[in-house]
Amino acid sequence: MATGQATLVVGQSTGFRELPFAVGGTVSGKSSVFSIPGKISYRSLYFDHTTLTKSVEAPVLEQLRLGPEGLTYLMHLKSPDYRLVRPILLSVQSSESGKLVTSDSHVHMYGVGESLSEALVAYESMLIDYFEDLAENHDAISDYLSQQLAWMLGVIEKV
């Protein structure tokens, strides 16, 4: 485990606002200062919901877009053909069957798995499939899907 800089995403009514902060440090919110301990593992940054409820003031917590389990970052791709230009923020939620569901807020891909690692691998597979699909069919997609493709071109590159 290592520590370092990370990004907290605060949900807004129209999207997300990213606030850089040091893991284990403090973050200045709009009118509050709150501390969010976190940890960076090999593939992901994960915030524990229990920790957040204890350390974040209620009005700020309401602004956080967190599932029961929180947020994570996809830091690397397992694919030998592609690499990430920058990490992708994902929400992590538990399904009723106990499986974990990861998803992003840009292209809305998702991954399901028994563990976070499994869910991240499934997410990566769907993301790359969608990336290749839209890239291959770029002349026959709507303007909005073109925007999604542009976002993926900004985070994924061919090795």
């Binding site: 939620q93 538990s94 399904s95 009723e96 069957s97 569901v101 998803s103 809305h108 891909m109 998702y110 399901v112 499934a122 597979s125 769907m126 499939d129 969608y130 699909d133 839209l134 069919n137 026959a140 997609i141 709507s142 909005y144 899907l145």
Partner: protein, 92 residues
């Protein structure tokens, strides 16, 4: 509001005219308007009932809220109504 994987597939293809997009790895469906794809929905590896958590991710791909999806499932939103939602959200 769980929905069966097969029921969801039937709803997308049978009522809302999504078309299966060939692929080796993933089972996915596209909605085409005016010759262009406007939405892509992945139903990859899904069997049995799909719970709200997973359904939430799928409805995001369809560009509808969970409430709107319920309306689609209950036949309160016709295909033209769905297109109106997409247009309103700037997805067409």
């Amino acid at each position: 509001m769980a929905i069966g994987a097969r029921e969801l597939e039937d709803l997308l293809v049978g009522k809302y005219s999504f078309e299966r997009i060939p692929g080796k790895k993933h089972n996915k469906y596209g909605l085409f308007v005016g010759g262009k794809r406007v939405a892509t929905t992945y139903l990859s590896g899904l069997t049995g009932d799909i719970d709200d958590t997973l359904l939430g991710a799928i409805t995001e791909q369809m560009f509808v809220t969970m409430g709107q999806f319920k309306g689609m499932k209950a036949c309160h939103i016709e295909p033209n109504g769905y297109l109106a939602i997409l247009r309103e959200r700037g997805r067409l």
